[in-house]
Symmetry: C2
Subunit: 289 residues, 2 copies
Amino acid sequence: MTSLRLCIVGLGLIGGSLALALRRARPAWRLAGVDSDAATRAQALAAGAVDEATELALARLDECDAVVLAVPAPALLELIPEVGARMRPGAVLTDVCGAKEAPCARGAGQQRVIFVGAHPMAGTEFRGFAVADAGLFRGATVAICPPTAGPDAGRAVELVGEVWRAAGAAKLLHVGPQEHDRAVTYASHLPYLAAAAVVRSLRSAGSAEELARDLAAGGFRDTTRLAGDGTVGGAASLNRFLPKAARELAEALQALAAQLEREPDAAREILSATADERRAMKLPPKRPA
Amino acid sequence: MTSLRLCIVGLGLIGGSLALALRRARPAWRLAGVDSDAATRAQALAAGAVDEATELALARLDECDAVVLAVPAPALLELIPEVGARMRPGAVLTDVCGAKEAPCARGAGQQRVIFVGAHPMAGTEFRGFAVADAGLFRGATVAICPPTAGPDAGRAVELVGEVWRAAGAAKLLHVGPQEHDRAVTYASHLPYLAAAAVVRSLRSAGSAEELARDLAAGGFRDTTRLAGDGTVGGAASLNRFLPKAARELAEALQALAAQLEREPDAAREILSATADERRAMKLPPKRPA
């Protein structure tokens, strides 16, 4: 695609990184940025990430071929109809949210623009344009939820795929929103919730809390890193499969606790087999810092 | 300490790294290595990590000033009296186990040698001498549990501290075994158990399991890294505070699940505050790969 007029709403880590990546890979595209924070807009302009940066109220959304909503989860649901109503009919609206059922349902609830849900599997625990990185999506997998109907659905899915390929994505997975949310429950939201619960558990340490904080090393750091990514919490709260999965995880922990007390040898065998299984898993390598 | 005769029993990641670090920092010390695996002994000798390497039965333990037991947790408890009985009276026996109450009780149950429990807060999910690293303990914190009585306790604690300072430790924390185990529950064993439960939860994904594995990215990788460290499981199984903490974590997950369903705004606020708290925590940086 040689020419595209794109607006990115939300110039935080994800939106800012997308702008930087596209600016580098597709210099001919016209990139508009929207952010409610004036300092963020100034940073993005100074970095050359976008051609213009405005508040949402002033953005010329009707001149865009596509708009990417890169805002936290609760605000996203309100923005989908609001932004869609200001775009030209048949243009493409997409998002980056880690839950897909709720945004895709909201997108399907209007007929003016074509909504294509997307979820790039990338992020860090840091936020804001200051930590945006043109290489954030390099090699990443992006889940894309095609609209269920409409004459221009195929073209819209192509366009969103082209945006993410240009940003560096190595793999585009077309999945239904429900299928996505069920899978991402186990791939991301449940790990996130467990990490958050582990951070909060420090408070249960009572008189040992200070020493526990002193002894916390790499294991604690890595296990809980995801808990520092507040934006995952927003997406997780939109995922209707998460509560049941969290209850099942709680039951698994209770079963492990009972086994550690009553059959420690069997517990050690399970944990040892789990360690082997974890080490055999193919997971993306750490990106260099 | 200009001269020391030290034997390290178990030349895996921890024992092997200790040997390599001491060889470099204290070339005058005499280091003997023990491992049941002939290939491991050959590797350690070839790397110059130890002056000699034998099976345990052939080790001249009575010639050592100190013996470090760097073996997995269940075997450790059997080895403490067995190895102690073969050392010269008054020599120092120490360990590296991540739980301290059980080994220290076993050590206190014999009068021949002075047992000083130690726990270096360092490790990776990989095992064996092949991944041993002279820099593994650089900057690490080591918890040391002084014996409760005995005329030579102070000297023994000094010696064990000297070994870990020589290996690169930046901070030695003298703590009681019970205090240690209570704190390490929250700093390490509970994060470990949560990570293991998250790995096992993938199986609950049912038809979404394959897609979940495809979507698993950095968040899943980091949250579950610790679950790949099988040796933590052995130590965790010796920690009597862990089952109760695991049940409390299960209750916290159930409460979060209920809140996500009934008061999603409140759940998002809690998760956002937890994210802020996690990012504000002072944790050791990642070591360069």
